[in-house]
């Protein structure tokens, strides 16, 4: 269908295909404002954000330390494991393993581990460790693959060994690996915070309680603190100090659990085994699968895809609108500073939280999820596009304003833009599933309901379906990027 080319014709074709699909998705979507007094709720929220109340240090400190501990332990250990997997990424089964582990959102992993290890530090640690290992393996292998191979070739014709790898590729990629690790630490903090939404004692736990009770001033105080934490990360977290932070995190919160082996064994050999299979009824199992698919899974998959498609196109439109405000080619320094800060705040705010806030305002429909996903993802892509636009070498006498944007900058960046957008497609889809936990009927909704009904076999079935869906979309995204010959560094913010 699409020739292996990055000609503008093919890029436009793909763009229209995506917009067309989003339009069809829009026809099937449920977008309506359900809350009777959204503006009243919004005014209360704004009032809270204007007059934030900060929690007492006594309550805040443990939640803060636990949030940091989960993030540091999980991210650093997953970076190490991911790095090892990245070295063997040419094996299909390693790629599949990594793809599977990152296809399941950290909240779902947490929900699974809570059943075995309770609300323990081990649960929080594993919930971050597993999906992040998959992400690190993929991105690290891409970074290592793109490295200049000339030094390696000049040294030996024998199969590369560890010494050669250390002296050549590792050193040449070190800066990129380090930057990615520090970006992932920021993501890890977000993930760690939202683990509180399923009950782990992190900042998200307090945040959710404040929002649910309508204590917006307290919620605002906590959110501001979270932003400061993320912004200060860049200055506080030096890679050389990381071993110290890791040791401190493990000492403060050793990843252990007091769950019993019998319980765990029961969970694995009974609870998550599909009900008919417990009695060896294979025909019943087929019926069980059919019923779950027809009653829930298909609907969940359909809604997840619809939501992801609309959110993807909205993300694209918003990214292209926002990035000039952050780019030196269009705006002066003060404006850029304001835009930069705004984008940091928007991307620091987890999608889950943005949806939560939009839900309070607009009520339960797909609209809050679309807003949240588009805002979060476009703030990341806009930031990256602005950085890339700074690298463009334009003639001094070229157009200004809109003409510069449409004739000089956009055509040059469009391939990169599509690559970044496709890169986040899988991420958006994964997030749509998780937003189901807030009542939007995506796959996550059915997973969450199954957990609430203590039907772990069903929960696992839906989780596996969501993993297959994410892995499929990931493959389609890779296919498009390869066919269109578009390429962009992964999300190095």
């Amino acid at each position: 269908m699409f020739k292996a080319t990055s000609s503008s014709h093919a890029l436009i074709q793909v763009t229209f295909l995506m917009i067309g699909l989003a339009f069809v998705a829009f026809l099937f979507s449920d977008i309506a404002i359900h809350t009777s007094q959204p503006w009243f709720e919004l005014s209360l929220m704004l009032k809270g954000f204007a007059q934030p109340v900060f929690m007492s240090w006594h309550t805040l400190w443990p939640a803060l330390c636990k949030t940091l501990s989960f993030a540091i332990q999980g991210v650093v250990c997953s970076a190490l494991l991911g790095f090892i997997l990245a070295l063997f990424f040419n094996y299909t089964w390693i790629r599949l393993l990594a793809s599977f582990s990152r296809a399941i959102h950290e909240l779902f992993w947490a929900l699974l581990f809570i059943q075995i290890a309770g609300l323990s530090p081990l649960t929080g640690f594993l919930a971050i460790l597993i999906p992040y290992t998959g992400v690190f393996a993929k991105v690290f292998s891409e970074i290592l693959d793109e490295c200049d191979k000339e030094p390696e070739r000049s040294l030996s014709l024998n199969p590369p060994n560890l010494s050669l790898f250390l002296y050549t590729r590792f050193f040449m990629c070190w800066e990129q690996l380090k930057n990615y690790l520090s970006y992932r630490l920021e993501c890890g903090l977000r993930s760690s915070a939202i683990l509180g939404f399923v009950g782990l004692p992190t900042l998200g736990f307090e945040l959710e309680s404040f929002f649910k009770q309508g204590d917006y001033a307290e919620a605002a105080g906590l959110l501001y603190l979270f932003f400061i934490l993320i912004i200060s990360l860049k200055y506080v977290f030096k890679v050389t100090l990381l071993p110290f932070y890791v040791v401190a995190a493990f000492l403060y919160l050793p990843p252990v659990a007091s769950g019993s082996w019998t319980l765990m064994w029961g969970f694995i050999t009974h609870d998550i085994v599909p009900a008919p299979l417990r009695t060896g009824d294979w025909l019943g199992f087929l019926d069980w699968c059919k019923t779950l698919c027809l009653n829930s899974a298909f609907k969940g998959v359909f809604n997840s895809l619809i939501l992801a498609q609309i959110a993807l196109v909205c993300t694209g439109v918003m990214s292209l609108t926002l990035f000039p405000f952050r780019s030196a080619l269009f705006f002066s320094k003060p404006w850029r500073f304001i835009s930069h800060s705004g984008l940091i705040v928007l991307r620091s705010c987890p999608e889950y939280l943005l949806t939560f806030i939009s839900l309070l305002i607009f009520g339960p429909s797909m609209l809050p999820a679309i807003i949240a996903l588009s805002v979060h993802n476009s703030s990341i892509i806009a930031h990256l596009l602005a950085l890339q636009s700074a690298q463009l070498k334009l003639q001094i006498d070229v157009q200004v304003g809109f003409n510069r944007y449409f004739y000089e900058v956009l055509p040059r960046l469009y391939g990169n833009f599509l690559a970044l957008l496709f890169y986040r497609w899988e991420i958006i889809l994964r997030e749509t599933a998780i937003l189901g936990m807030l009542g939007i009927p995506t796959l996550g909704f059915f997973i969450d309901s199954a957990f609430e009904d203590i039907r772990f076999d069903r929960a696992l079935f839906f989780i596996l379906i969501s993993a297959i869906l994410n892995m499929t979309v990931d493959s389609i995204s890779v296919f498009f990027r390869k066919r269109l010959h578009i390429h962009s560094q992964p999300e190095l913010v």
Binding site: P151, L157, Y167
Partner: protein, 218 residues
């Protein structure tokens, strides 16, 4: 150890570059390879290198240095395959006094003694090329295969470095662009033309007319 090709065909990608290649190089020989660009010099060097992968040092046209590592470490990399990983790791973190002294003596010969601690990316093109040669010298291998190794050096420096190489390596096969350098450092000359050997003779018997013919387009 010697190099040998009998009725060999060498390809570059899908294209056959050299046909019916008959060539034998004995240990102790210093051989210059000349010919127009694209005639197959690099392909021949690559094939030679494959024959003696573990015993030959290699100096490519583009010195494959690791930009962020020091000149000292880049030279040390010549011996990576001779030590185990832990020793290599230790030398990366803190090079031993013995290694430092050994590398320093090579650096003096190449005029790099003041650049040892500088990152390779901060070195000039000529310094990078000498660093790459230093790596070859440090590798303790008896054979050198090099592709225009002194192209970025001025004549005085190039001759000095070629002398060092000549005394160090028992066997050398070097592709040259500059006939003067070839005559200075080698005893045998192989000229490539039209997909094969044009001549293969002692360098002092090569005439100017023969050389002109090598570079004349057909």
């Amino acid at each position: 150890m010697s190099f040998s090709f009998k009725d060999h065909e060498l390809t570059y990608g899908p294209k056959t570059v050299l046909k019916n290649l008959h060539l034998h190089i004995q240990p102790g020989e210093h051989v210059a390879i000349i010919g127009e660009s694209g005639v197959g010099k690099s392909t021949l060097l690559k094939a030679l290198r494959e024959q003696q992968a573990s015993t030959s040092a290699w100096c490519p046209q583009q010195p494959g240095l690791v930009p962020m590592l020091s000149c000292l470490h880049n030279i040390y990399m010549g011996r990576l395959d001779q030590y185990n990983f832990l020793i290599n790791l230790k030398q990366l973190l803190y090079p031993s006094a013995k290694i430092r002294t050994e590398i320093a003596s090579i650096a003096i010969k190449l005029g790099l003694e003041h650049e040892l601690q500088q990152a390779a990316e901060q070195l000039s093109g000529g310094q990078q090329q000498r660093c790459s040669i230093g790596r070859g010298l440090f590798s303790k291998k008896s054979i050198l295969i090099a592709d225009e190794p002194v192209s970025a050096l001025d004549e005085f420096q190039a001759l000095k470095v070629l002398d060092v190489m000549k005394h160090h390596f028992e066997t050398m096969v070097i592709a040259f662009h500059d006939i003067h350098f070839a005559r200075h450092s080698c005893k045998r000359m192989i000229a490539l033309k039209n997909g094969g050997l044009y001549f293969d003779k002692q360098i002092d018997t090569v005439t100017d007319d023969e050389l002109k013919e090598v570079y004349r387009s057909t």
